[in-house]
């Protein structure tokens, strides 16, 4: 969604050609991100000869301020929905930065790893908005990601297993 998409596209801006093909996973209710992504990829195609990417959509796992209990149910549903997608794509790397959409995708990849079907490296970058506290996605994925990146030193202190590279967006 919106801010998350802008941030993640900035993160992608310096990645080399090795990071290909790129599969973007969006919430089905997200109207704006698709345009931003296409524009980013179009620009990228001007520099790099290859530009393999596609967009996949999954049901939104949680609405803003949705109640806790119904969030658990909708998230479980989203994990089940994500499993076939993650199984089909079998990504080497998942990069995410916090929208609710990323939790089921990462958890489904984690599950496929446990089942020895595909080992995916999960890299989570907490949003630059998060200076003192982690987002809910962050709090969950702190335990499931291979690399958990924060952008402010305060968070590095609170979450010692995280990686601090300074501000990267």
């Amino acid at each position: 969604t919106g801010g998350h998409t802008t941030e993640i596209l900035r993160l992608l801006s310096c990645l080399s050609e090795s990071y290909s093909p790129r599969y973007y996973v969006l919430a089905d209710s997200d109207k704006m991100s698709e345009a931003k992504i296409r524009s980013f990829e179009q620009k990228r195609a001007e520099t790099f000869s290859e530009s393999q990417f596609s967009l996949d959509r999954i049901p939104r796992s949680r609405e803003v301020r949705q109640s806790w209990i119904s969030s658990v149910v909708t998230t479980l549903y989203s994990i089940l929905y994500s499993l076939p997608l993650t199984y089909k794509r079998k990504p080497d790397l998942i990069l995410c930065n916090g929208p609710g959409t990323c939790v089921p995708v990462c958890l489904s990849a984690f599950l496929l790893g446990l089942l020895r079907i595909k080992r995916t490296i999960i890299v989570y970058v907490e949003s630059i908005c998060r200076v003192e506290t982690l987002s809910l996605s962050g709090k969950i994925l702190y335990y499931f990601s291979d690399y958990f990146i924060v952008q402010w030193p305060n968070l590095k202190e609170k979450y010692p297993k995280s990686v601090y590279l300074g501000r990267i967006v």
Partner: protein, 104 residues
Amino acid sequence: FRFKDSLAEDLQSADLVISHAGAGSCLETLEKGKPLIVVINDKLMDNHQLELAKQLHRDGCVLYCNCSTLVETLQSMDLSALKPFPLGQPEKFASFLDKVLGLQ
């Protein structure tokens, strides 16, 4: 206007920006080197937008206030005291990722 795809043009021609505390708005404005006053929405509960605005204020990059103190802020502001905002470095992220994935 209620909604535009991009505010880049408006930002470029502005001398002062007054905005809510959304990260996108703040960052876009600061990156263009425009002075920024951030207005916090008191009525939004669990306002994590506040974290970034507070930090930017601590770093001396923005002025901040709420709806009721906006006029006062505009009257007493000293924009020359605002510090420039250092840009983020996505290349550090790319290096890090290349390293951990063994792609160097």
